[in-house]
């Protein structure tokens, strides 16, 4: 109240800092989702690789165990199913990660645009 100039300049500084931070976050997030078709394709590719990798590892373990234990089809069947499960676990994990990142980006945009609270 006594020194309105100080207050307003502090507020200004705060706003400028916020804008600068937002800009930095924007610059830093190279693989932020929803920025361009190319990065969306990257997300799709990532999900595909995660799913296929889990399945391949599952089938590989199944075949190895079958060879080792002599239980011809059973381990393969079991680990194929487990590989599917692992693939979907990976998928959910990636999706959750992307979700969290989008929400963070939205949050920082919201708090950067107006006043917080």
């Amino acid at each position: 109240m006594t020194e309105p100039d100080d207050q307003s300049s502090l507020k200004q500084l705060d706003e400028r800092l916020k804008a600068a931070r937002l800009q930095r976050d924007k610059d830093r997030g190279i693989n932020q989702p929803g920025r361009s078709p190319a990065s969306n394709a990257g997300v799709g590719f990532r999900i595909a690789v995660e799913m296929v990798a889990a399945l391949v590892v599952g089938v590989g373990i199944g075949l190895l165990l079958d060879n080792w234990l002599g239980t011809k089809p059973w381990m393969l069947i079991l680990f194929f199913i487990l590989g599917c499960g692992a693939g979907f676990t990976n998928l959910i994990r990636v999706a959750r990660d992307i979700d969290r990142k989008t929400r963070l980006a939205k949050q920082s945009k919201d708090s950067g645009g107006g006043q917080e609270g």
Partner: protein, 247 residues
């Protein structure tokens, strides 16, 4: 590999020994190949880039020093954001990986050179080293408690029968997904460049259209080269974070 064709788009990935006679050691062919040469060149390029650009040690960096500092800061920020302060002591390793992959990808874009990251065995070995190292760090930090990693917190105990194998397979799939992502991106980019370059000659005058494409794709490939090095490193950081903090 396409058989017969002299100039197949996959020819660029062929590994040939540089010496005439294969060098044998214990029954294995350990000849010095074009792949090893590319790796050696990459290591030399990274070392000389960092050593010579930082020789001035100026307070106000020049162009080269700025480049080196940008590389340092990218990795340092990545490590701080994804692993936290405990990750600082792994900085040399992460930085080496980043520079090796980045320079390998970029040197591979020079016409006539060889991209060693386009061979799945190379990326898989790198990913395996990371995977084994990270797992060792996890066990060293948490002891047997690291096995809790394979059981989601708060799930009913009887579900362990299904969940533990699934988590185990999911965990084991990490080196594969890490290596396949880098390798596939590099192969796709280079094959695309070769195939479209083939159209340029075949179409005669209208070859100017694929030529324009080629210019755009080459620029895109530089982006992909940098981005894939970045992603490879950031995933390493995420795995390291999991090992240190356990989720």
């Amino acid at each position: 590999m396409a058989a017969g064709e002299k100039h197949s788009p996959l020819d660029q990935f062929k590994i040939t020994a540089l010496s005439d006679e294969p060098t044998m050691l214990g029954g294995f062919d350990i000849s010095f190949t074009n792949s090893s040469a590319a790796m050696l060149v990459t290591v030399l390029a990274v070392t000389s880039f960092l050593v010579f650009s930082m020789r001035g040690r100026a307070l106000i960096p020049g162009r080269w020093q700025s480049c080196a500092e940008i590389c340092y800061e990218i990795v340092a920020n990545m490590l701080r954001d994804n692993v936290g302060s405990e990750g600082r002591k792994y900085f040399p390793f992460i930085f080496s990986i980043f520079m090796f992959v980045l320079f390998g990808n970029l040197i591979g874009l020079i016409p006539g050179s060889f991209t060693f990251t386009s061979h799945v065995i190379v990326t898989f070995v790198m990913a395996s080293v990371i995977f084994i190292g990270v797992t060792a760090i996890g066990f060293a930090r948490h002891g047997l408690g690291y096995c809790r990693m394979f059981f989601p917190h708060g799930a009913p105990l009887w579900t362990a029968v299904i969940l533990v194998p699934i988590e185990l397979v999911s965990y084991l799939s990490r080196p594969l997904s890490l290596s396949v992502r880098l390798f596939a991106n590099m192969v796709v980019g280079h094959v695309l460049l070769k195939v479209i370059a083939g159209f340029v000659i075949a179409l005669g005058f209208f070859g100017i259209v694929p030529l324009a494409f080629l210019v755009g794709i080459t620029a895109l490939e530089f982006l992909v080269a940098a981005l894939q090095a970045y992603i490879f490193t950031i995933l390493t950081c995420i795995y390291l974070h999991d090992a240190i903090h356990m989720h």
